[in-house]
Amino acid sequence: SQTIHQWPATLVQPVGSPLSLECTVEGTSNPNLYWYRQAAGRGLQLLFYSVGIGQISSEVPQNLSASRPQDRQFILSSKKLLLSDSGFYLCAWITRKGEAFFGQGTRLTVV
């Protein structure tokens, strides 16, 4: 069966520090992968999506970047975190049928 793993679950980082969140998928090949951010009182904001290795599409200009080094691995990064980067980050795999399966999420607090 297909599963999606995301870690860490929680993270507290100082302003200006780097960030690396990792997401991996099992049980499927060539998945479409997505990074969303959910801020308090707001909906899920699409940040990046990738349809294959090395292919990244960015939805909004921001302090974050994404990479797809392997078929089933999707990484969200930042060189220098801002306070406004705090939020709940979710990795998702969206199937060809259009159904989304989400990771457990990472609660990032930038202090």
């Binding site: 995301q6 479409n32 997505y34 969303y36 009182g41 707001r42 909906g43 899920l44 699409l46 999506y49 349809v51 709940f88 979710l90 998702a92 969206i94 199937t95 060809r96 049928k97 259009g98 159904e99 989304a100 399966f101 989400f102 990771g103 457990q104 999420g105 609660r107």
Partner: protein
């Protein structure tokens, strides 16, 4: 501009009643619309998908309708239980069915009181 809106931020109902949640969209032509459940601190969980050519879809106590003329979907939970308390999100594919670029509403927080 393109929007997907869930009109109620919160909905409180009594156990056993039917909960009805609304999702409206503008300036999209989605091939399908989906509903998800999200519990606090967790990722959303897929519940139902309804295609543009389907009027209604059911799964156990859940029922979804999709009116492409009104640009609206209704999500019903019949015989609601306290365990149904969660935030429910609607989502649509903004590209009309390709690539799965899902756009989500802000969600409606449902509270079912015993």
């Amino acid at each position: 501009s393109q929007k997907i809106e869930q009109n109620s931020e919160a909905l409180n109902i009594q156990e056993g009643k039917t909960a009805t949640l609304t999702c409206n969209y503008t300036n999209y032509s989605p091939a399908y619309l989906q509903w998800y459940r999200q519990d606090p601190g967790r990722g959303p969980v897929f519940l139902l998908l309804i295609r543009e050519n389907e009027k209604e879809k059911r799964k156990e106590r859940l029922k979804v309708t999709f009116d492409t003329t009104l640009k609206q979907s209704l999500f019903h939970i019949t015989a609601s239980q306290p365990a149904d308390s969660a935030t429910y999100l609607c989502a649509l594919d903004r590209n009309g069915g390709s690539q799965g670029n899902l756009i989500f509403g802000k969600g409606t927080k449902l509270s079912v009181k015993p």
